[in-house]
């Protein structure tokens, strides 16, 4: 946040960071979509303000603010962001997606066990022993604690053979 005032030297005034442009574009697109679709929801009916009125106003705010932001950026571009560690993002997001996909199939215990093992052993490079203990506690342990201690049912496996042996 503090970088903006440092970056206002005249020589850097030429370019807007691509990520910022993408962002502005995306917000404008969302805003336009909302404007169009909320108009069709009905802004005003014989019974009073319609379901589209409020979203319509928000779509308007989104579009106009994106435009203003673009103007601001053109006059005085902000610094490019620090950037992200793609490796971290990909491994966390992909592992979560896989976990979510497998959870209903393999059941909470197996899928969470594998998930934790991946994060502890492969990514975190912990010892086998501590990885196994924690992964077991977090999967099988958590399952029993939630199911029986708290009445919170975590998913069980959809496959009968797995299901029968307790997953």
């Amino acid at each position: 946040m503090t970088t903006e005032s440092l970056m206002t030297k005249p020589e850097s005034a030429a370019r807007v960071a691509p990520s910022v442009l993408t962002g502005i574009g995306a917000f404008t697109a969302v805003g336009l979509y909302v404007l169009v679709s909320s108009a069709s929801l009905g802004l005003w009916t014989s019974l009073g303000p319609g379901p589209g009125l409020f979203p319509f106003a928000m779509g308007g705010v989104l579009v106009s603010m994106s435009a203003l932001w673009l103007v601001q950026e053109l006059r005085r571009p902000s610094a490019a962001a620090e950037g992200i560690d793609r490796g971290v993002v990909i491994s966390v997001v992909v592992s979560l997606v896989v976990l979510a996909l497998l959870m209903d199939l393999l059941g909470f215990q197996l899928s969470m066990f594998l998930f934790l093992l991946y994060h502890l052993k492969l990514r975190g490079q912990r010892t086998w022993l501590s990885s196994l203990i924690i992964a077991l506690a977090g999967s099988v342990g958590a399952f029993y604690a939630f199911n029986y201690g708290l009445n919170v049912a975590l998913p069980v496996s959809a496959f009968t053979p797995l299901n029968l042996i307790g997953f």
Partner: protein, 500 residues
């Protein structure tokens, strides 16, 4: 004097050994349940109700109140330590609470949260004792137009504080409002922005969004090769707040009490609105507003005080009008009904002994919360000594369970992942997240009150300016938005606010 006597009588009835033990157990169980993901205060209280059914009315309600305080505080613990709010009302605490944790001040944050809860709860209960009736009537003055005007004030507070990046704050706010509109239109019933997905008819669940936007995006933005660890475990000495931290928290707690108490009186207002508006108030009025978001004690003390003040003030409409103002209060009301007590003004005339015992037990519950939790702060923070990779894995585990258990559906896990990515993008574009969270909560309330107001006035927008309270509030909102704009006219050197 009469009131005082009756209150003392209430204390005498509540302070039996048995009741104290119930209250203590309730606090402890509540805190543990609150720490666990997927069980918020409402579910937590509901889960433990069977435990209380066989007690006498006083004992059972004392225990329930204690459970409720405990679950709320438990939610704060995970917000501060793991960046994963257990429920909506402690969502905003994650911003500065977790930032404090990263600075090694987790202990101080938790202690201040407990003290703030105590202060807010106690002051609100005093209000209940001293002036329940007039205060209850005061809450009724807030009709739909005033409700809407209050929401406008709240949003303008958050927008204004963004200073020069007001544009970004507005984008963030509009996004939050749009997300809150996904699902069935709460007035006319038409599905909006559901893209034909049945799972979206019920809207996007708030907890999944919050966990994604704050918790997951934080993990995603962590850089593997960075030298700084995820968090610093606090040493023994830093468990307690420093003298400066105490001094800075005091005004924040005072403001939080005011915000929470005032809003708690209004039927239909939820505790999360109080904590969010208290945060917004800190952003606007605190002397250290520029530090908010980077681990300022005000960002923890204010909201945590506000939500407890709110929770206790919300009992005022229940006692004076019989209106349960929030879901948790409704659960309490259920317990009243089970015991054959109908909440409302008749409670004080027909069962005044029980009514006063309950009020006394609210005081006791607040004290116990403080006595129980401050010594435990050290134990809770010890979780931070866990090495980063293990902690990350455990946080992810917590988040997945938390998201899944909202509806017992994997869908919410995907929602959380999606919002984690959105949160990451917004962070990278330097767009503040707080306005989005605020509008996400305020959105439905704001839309409903706008439409109700326009139905009252039959389409005439002047209803917002012709009624005195809403006119003043709307004026205040405009003033708040305009005040930073006026500053821009000053010489350039002055506008270089380090925050912008």
């Amino acid at each position: 004097m009469d009131t005082l006597n009756e209150l003392l009588g209430g204390f005498a009835a509540a302070m039996t050994w048995q009741n104290l033990i119930f209250a203590f157990l309730g606090c402890l169980l509540g805190t543990i349940i609150g720490v666990l993901p997927g069980v918020g205060p409402v579910a937590g209280v509901a889960l433990l109700i069977p435990l209380t059914l066989n007690l006498d009315p006083t004992g059972s309600i004392i225990m329930l109140c204690a459970i409720f305080y405990g679950t709320q505080y438990g939610g704060t613990i995970t917000s501060v330590l793991l960046n994963t709010p257990g429920e909506a009302s402690s969502a905003i605490t994650t911003i500065d609470g977790y930032a404090m944790t990263k600075l090694g001040r987790a202990g101080a944050a938790l202690t201040l949260a407990a003290v703030g809860s105590f202060v807010g709860g106690t002051v609100a209960t005093i209000g209940l004792v001293a002036a329940a009736k007039p205060l209850g009537e005061l809450g009724l003055l807030v009709g739909p137009p005033e409700f809407f005007a209050l929401m406008v004030v709240g949003i303008s507070l958050l927008v204004a504080l963004a200073g020069k990046s007001m544009v970004k704050a507005l984008i963030s706010g509009a996004l939050g409002l749009l997300i809150s509109m996904v699902g069935i239109d709460p007035v006319a019933g038409a599905p909006r922005f559901t893209f034909g997905m049945d799972r979206l008819l019920d809207g996007v669940s708030f907890v999944a969004v919050i966990v994604g936007v704050f918790g997951l995006s934080e993990i995603l933005s962590y850089r593997k090769n960075s030298k700084t660890p995820l968090v610093h475990a606090p040493g023994m000495r830093s468990l307690l707040p420093s003298r400066t931290e105490w001094r800075r928290s005091a005004p924040a707690m005072a403001r939080g009490t005011g915000v929470g108490f005032g809003l708690g009186l209004i039927p239909g207002m939820t505790g999360s609105v109080s904590s969010l508006l208290s945060y917004a108030a800190e952003k606007k009025f605190s002397r250290f507003r520029n530090e908010l978001g980077k681990g300022a004690v005000e960002g923890v003390a204010g909201p945590e005080t506000a939500n407890n003040a709110h929770a206790n003030a919300a009992l005022i409409p229940l006692f004076t009008l019989g209106i349960p103002a929030s879901p948790t209060i409704a659960v309490l009301m259920g317990a009243f009904l089970q015991q054959g007590l109908t909440p409302g003004p008749a409670l004080f005339t027909e069962h005044s002994d029980i009514a006063w015992a309950i009020i006394a037990s609210l005081f006791i519950g607040n004290v116990l919360l403080l006595l129980l939790n401050v010594p435990l702060v050290g134990l809770w923070t010890s979780i931070l000594r866990v090495p980063t990779p293990i902690l990350t894995a455990l946080i992810l585990l917590f988040m997945v369970i938390g998201a899944y258990t909202i509806n017992f559906d994997v869908f919410d896990v995907f929602v959380m992942i999606g919002f984690g990515l959105l949160g990451l993008a917004l962070r990278n574009l330097d767009i503040p997240l707080a306005p989005m969270v605020l509008t996400l909560v305020l959105g439905p309330l704001m839309e409903r009150s706008l439409r109700e107001s326009l139905e009252i006035s039959q389409g005439d927008f002047s209803i917002f300016t012709s009624r005195p309270i809403s006119a003043v509030l709307i004026g205040l909102g405009v003033l708040i938005i305009c005040s930073p704009l006026l500053k821009v006219r000053k010489p350039k050197a002055l506008t270089e606010d380090p925050e912008a």
